[in-house]
């Protein structure tokens, strides 16, 4: 199992042994959104491009998009998550995964941030 990589828009992605990529949103992003109330996930089978919005999350006062870190096809979504949004806060890198993609070009993972670079990005964010 590969290490996590991060998009600047705060999604994480992990290339699994079966060639699929698991996508979620970072603990920093979950904490920044505070109380989550609703989530809309993409349809399985949808073709997405890197940087394209693939779903929305509503917190008490804000609606935010989340984006595909790489291009590919959505092959699974975490269907229980919209009814158990607290899982996102409890386990954002495990049970709080959002979608699984079949990447069309794994080379698109290369420019994404590793954990060290992402931590530096988070520290530079306006508060």
């Amino acid at each position: 199992m590969a290490a996590l990589k991060f998009a600047k828009t705060h999604e994480w992605i992990r290339l699994e042994d079966d060639g699929l990529a698991t996508v979620g949103i970072s603990a920093y992003a979950v904490e920044a959104l505070t109380d989550l109330v609703f989530m809309q996930l993409p349809e399985v089978g949808r073709q997405v491009k890197a940087g394209e919005s693939i779903g929305e999350i509503e917190s008490v006062k804000a609606v935010s998009d989340f984006y595909a870190p790489v291009s590919g096809q959505v092959v699974a979504v975490n269907g229980v998550l919209p009814n158990e949004l607290e899982t996102l806060g409890k386990d954002p890198y495990g049970a709080g995964w959002l979608v699984k993609l079949r990447p069309s070009d794994t080379g698109e993972l290369a420019p994404l941030l590793d954990t060290t670079a992402y931590d530096a990005l988070v520290k530079s964010q306006p508060h």
Binding site: A32, S53, E58, S59, K61, A62
Partner: protein, 260 residues
């Protein structure tokens, strides 16, 4: 250059107003500057939060018969017509583009300060606990979130009367914040949807020049952004009619209104 560029726009329909606000967000992202516009509504209209259930709104006797539009932003339903509506947009790289509460507080704390200068003791609500179920209340002014501006009254209890609420749409390159300063609910609105506004709660407010109040508010916001208030040229929506009309189609589409 920071500060704030502001426009006062003419009344328009719900779809046109939502479209103009999306254009405002796109321009904030493109110019790298915080922008704001105040605007009116061509008729009393209910704007729903981005994911509020349409069926719940349509079943509510409190807002029956009123035109509905769905905002891109979150939060609860607002009955427009007796309020001062604003849309503010900041680029994501702006100090207010990070933590959602920062932009919320920028506008709310600024009005709190200005109202104090006008002799009104408004305060920011600390927020109710999650189990209070605020997100299940249809109307924004029945909810209480951290930072909502309230005016205390014995009749309203600890939660006071909410006079200012805001909600956001956090886009890739900008944050769009919608807000509503409640002035006075139109008398034709059924009582469950009526909330006392600033003009109802503060006797002296009826003699105020509301444009002066709003200008002082934006000057305070601009100062907090580290700059000055700048009047935008012309009308915002009026000088961008074509792009606003194009975007308004989405907000007129039943599929958008029925998305949840």
């Amino acid at each position: 250059m920071s500060g704030l560029v502001a426009w006062w726009d003419d009344p328009a329909s719900g779809p046109e107003n939502m479209a103009a606000d999306e254009v405002l967000a796109a321009e904030a992202a493109a110019t790298g500057r915080p922008l704001v516009r105040f605007y009116g509504w061509s008729e009393p209209t209910v704007s729903l939060g981005g994911f509020q259930r349409l069926a719940e709104a349509r079943a509510s006797a409190a807002i029956a018969g009123l035109p509905l539009v769905r905002r891109p932003s979150g939060g609860g339903a607002i009955l427009h017509g007796g309020d001062l509506t604003y849309a503010a947009a900041v680029p994501r790289g702006h100090p207010w583009g990070g933590d959602p509460q920062s932009l919320y507080d920028a506008f709310h704390a600024a009005l709190e300060t200005v109202l104090r200068d006008f002799g009104v003791a408004a305060t920011r609500h600390p927020g109710r606990p999650r189990d209070a179920g605020d997100e299940h209340r249809l109307l924004c002014f029945d909810r209480r979130a951290r930072g909502d501006l309230i005016v205390a009254s014995a009749a309203a209890g600890a939660d006071g009367h909410k006079i200012l609420g805001s909600a956001q749409r956090r886009l890739h390159a900008a944050v769009l914040q919608h807000g509503s300063l409640l002035l006075a609910t139109p008398p034709t609105v059924p009582s469950p949807a009526r909330h006392p506004g600033l003009l109802d709660l503060v006797v002296a407010a009826s003699s105020w020049d509301l444009r002066e109040l709003a200008t002082a508010w934006l000057q305070e916001v601009a100062a907090r952004a580290g700059g000055a208030l700048e009047a935008g040229p012309d009308r915002f929506a009026g000088s961008r009619k074509r792009v606003v009309a194009e975007r308004a189609c989405r907000f007129r589409d039943e599929a958008w209104l029925e998305r949840r």
